[in-house]
């Protein structure tokens, strides 16, 4: 019983990162109607950026977010201007197809580039407080991963505030819901697309930083993170960032539970099962509008 509880705690902490990874994917998909399958590679890039920022400047690992997030935002602007801005001009039906082509191309290129530049080795950021553990009623809670969970939630909450309080945040939501009506309200829809894509990339960068701190990065982690994020997006549905975070926690807990019950190799299966079951039973997701 204690082992199960311990596994669940660890699962929830990983789940917070799933939620953060999914938030960026969900934002871009919901607003641009573009499925960015290179989202995981953007997370990977964020992880390396944090790794090198910490190594070069000797920053506190968490403080590297202050550099990595703005850099990712700029990368998002560049990717939109150079690639995804063209996809968005297509009609909505052809958009997803085109975005898959561009996304897979981008994912493969970034993966190859990362292997070339940084080799295929796994890396993680060594933190001074890496080993600290909180003991709560017989459970061990790693302080580092707990901090990561808290930060992931804080970032999601900040995004939620941005989308509900900020003028352009509301414009982004309006565009997601009905871009023609947004245009008729005087919203520059192209700019809303750009902002949403840049924010999505910034979220990927933040997720990557936390992955590099709490877990590890290598050039090949992209696909796995894209898949986890996609499962969470399907599970949670579009339109609620808090819901997406909860969806991430659910996936993390479900993986832990299935790993405990059926053994380690079956951890990954439960996510795919969730994917199929939700698509059949509730295609809108659990928090979708």
């Amino acid at each position: 019983m204690r082992i199960l509880a311990q596994q669940l705690v660890l699962g929830l902490m990983l789940g917070g990162l799933y939620g953060l990874a999914a938030a960026g994917l969900s934002l871009v998909f919901g607003v641009l109607k573009v499925l960015n399958v290179a989202h995981g590679e953007l997370i990977m890039l964020g992880g390396y950026a944090a790794f090198f920022v910490v190594g070069l400047f000797g920053l506190d690992p968490f403080a590297s977010l202050l550099l990595v997030v703005p850099l990712s935002l700029l990368l998002g602007v560049a990717l939109y201007a150079g690639l995804f801005g063209f996809v968005v001009r297509a009609s909505e039906e052809t958009r997803v197809k085109n975005s898959l082509l561009i996304g897979f191309g981008l994912a493969l290129s970034l993966h190859a580039l990362a292997v070339r530049l940084w080799t295929a080795d796994e890396r993680s950021i060594i933190t001074p407080y890496g080993g600290a553990v909180l003991r709560v009623g017989g459970l061990s809670i790693p302080v580092l991963r707990l901090t990561i969970l808290a930060l992931a939630f804080a970032l999601i909450a900040a995004l939620h505030l941005l989308l509900t309080r900020w003028r352009w945040g509301r414009a982004i939501r309006a565009t997601a819901e009905d871009w023609e009506a947004a245009l008729l309200s005087g919203i520059d829809v192209r700019r809303a697309y750009l902002l949403a894509f840049a924010l999505g990339t910034a979220l990927a960068g933040a997720a990557g930083t936390l992955v590099a701190i709490g877990y590890s990065v290598s050039p090949s982690i992209g696909l796995e993170w894209t898949l986890k994020a996609l499962i969470v997006v399907v599970l949670a549905g579009l339109g609620s960032m808090i819901g997406t975070f909860v969806g991430g926690l659910v996936l993390g807990a479900a993986e832990a539970l299935s790993g405990f019950t059926f053994g380690g190799p079956y951890r990954e299966v439960v996510g795919l099962a969730i994917f199929v079951v939700v698509l059949v039973a509730r295609p809108r997701g659990f928090f979708g509008r």
């Binding site: 509301r170 939501r173 309006a174």
Partner: protein, 239 residues
């Protein structure tokens, strides 16, 4: 003043408008009548910048709108209440109205605009915190008109505002349009409800098969045999 000259619009190879010419003067109420598929919505969407014409021109206060983006057309003082309302259903009444004042010139007068909308539709003030999709059709139409008014337009275009609304509420929507017009805002109205729209419009155009086939003062069109036969039904001819 809105001047549409020889406007041609196509969907792929299908021609929707084949050379439409019409004008809407400042502060005028003009109705656009015609059967389904005549191109009425196409015309409004083209003026609003959602569709790009293949030929002809649209001028607003002397400026050619051909190269002006849809969101900038709102900034110029032209607002469209689209067919089917197209509200942001997962947002509140208040948020929908706020979004209507997104254009820079509308933002500056947003407080006055909001007061004007609430004065026009008092029911919306009480419901400003409610989600739009929880409202009735008539109330949603009020939000749609309110959202367009929040952009502080000088010309308000409406695409079938009476569609799917209880008859009792249709009258109140039309009353509010008269009131909006009294404040100096031009109204360009597409309606299936021909009798109601001709009773309060100053002028009207009849659009059939993508062309203007009739126009004149509303009172004259009410007496026009073709209009009576085609749009007011056989009973109207006998009366």
């Amino acid at each position: 003043m809105l001047e549409v000259q020889d406007l041609e619009v196509s969907y792929g190879d299908v021609r929707a408008l084949g050379g439409v010419t019409l004008t809407v003067g400042a502060g005028e109420i003009v109705a656009l009548l015609g059967p389904n598929g005549a191109g009425k919505s196409t015309l409004l969407k083209s003026i609003a910048g959602l569709l790009r014409p293949r030929g002809g021109s649209i001028r607003w206060e002397g400026e050619d709108l051909g190269a002006v983006g849809a969101h900038e057309i709102v900034e110029r003082g032209l607002a469209l209440v689209p067919e089917g309302r197209r509200l942001f259903g997962s947002m509140t009444v208040g948020e929908n109205l706020e979004l209507g004042a997104f254009a820079p010139h509308a933002r500056r007068v947003h407080a006055e605009s909001l007061e004007r909308v609430y004065a026009l539709f008092p029911a919306l003030r009480e419901r400003r915190g409610q989600l739009v999709r929880a409202l009735s059709g008539g109330q949603q139409q009020m939000v749609a008109v309110g959202r367009a008014l929040m952009s502080a337009p000088r010309l308000l275009m409406l695409d079938e505002p009476s569609l799917g609304i209880a008859p009792r509420l249709v009258a109140s929507i039309f009353d509010s349009l008269v009131e909006i017009n009294r404040a100096g805002v031009g109204v360009f109205l597409v309606e299936q409800n021909v009798r109601a729209s001709l009773s309060f419009a100053h002028r009207a155009y009849v659009l059939e098969g993508g062309r203007v086939v009739g126009s004149g003062p509303a009172a004259a069109l009410l007496e026009d045999p073709h209009v009576r036969r085609a749009y007011l039904g056989p009973l109207a001819v006998r009366a």
